[in-house]
Symmetry: C2
Subunit: 148 residues, 2 copies
Amino acid sequence: MTDDLVLRRQVCFALYAASRALTDVYRPILDEFGLTYPQYLVLLVLWERPDEAPTVSELGAELRLDSGTLSPLLKRLEGAGLVVRRRSARDERRVEVGLTEQGRALRERLCDVPMRIAQATGLGLGELVALRDTLTRVTDTIHRQKEQ
Amino acid sequence: MTDDLVLRRQVCFALYAASRALTDVYRPILDEFGLTYPQYLVLLVLWERPDEAPTVSELGAELRLDSGTLSPLLKRLEGAGLVVRRRSARDERRVEVGLTEQGRALRERLCDVPMRIAQATGLGLGELVALRDTLTRVTDTIHRQKEQ
DNA sequence: CACAATTAAGTTGTGCACAACTTATCGGAC
DNA sequence: GTCCGATAAGTTGTGCACAACTTAATTGTG
């Protein structure tokens, strides 16, 4: 019963440790491009819809990050010349984030990253898909509870 | 093929998102005790062997955190009166971390936390164990690769 | 014993995350 | 048109993570 407090038994620690371990795999790869993992995530969203120029809020909804995290991160991506920010014409509160030519071009240079990461996990494709779906289900369950 | 770059397909994002979502569940619970999640993890290790007073390095090996993270964290736990740090007698380089009476007592007040977290995931016990084991396997695989 | 290499903890600097707050704009009720 | 509440982004402050470095103690080798 109080054995529940043992570190190795806890899913949460396994999750926390695995998340950091995977980020460790990303780090040297992304370092070559001067990117951090959260910056890479922002680029992933932008690459998915290269002509939409989502707002900061829309990026945040996708990644579940708020402006307190995204504003300085986007400023750094802009400083690196990968992204442009511009106030929306019809709603001056919004800031639209678009890719520069350089940011667009980076996509092809990073397209083999997911495969390299998948290999590092040591899991098969089926296991990876199952793991992803379980984790997504957990995340969605938690967020659904939070909204009530 | 380049669809591999889609955010929702990536295990890593699922992992990153799930880890943060679970920390969100912990936050209000641990807040009542003035703890953060990493601080709680340190206490978990200390509760497991309450009479050993592990060194900073030993804590770090267990949690995979370095002194750059642990030193200030332990200083805060000491400030909160939950932990004491003392230089080892036989090796003055080492710092041993022990529980105070207050830190020891906290264990009982937090013993129902794992169950509350498990419920928030929406997963059954079997799924939780399977998830934990898969994640632990991934983490171990990555760390084994890193050592070579 | 001397001293170079190693080890342990701490410090500094950068970049997330997130809470709490501020500023500016927008939309609706009147 | 005016004002009030809501919304969007940014700012500030705290606490991780982690790289790179510093300081101090210890170990190993000649």
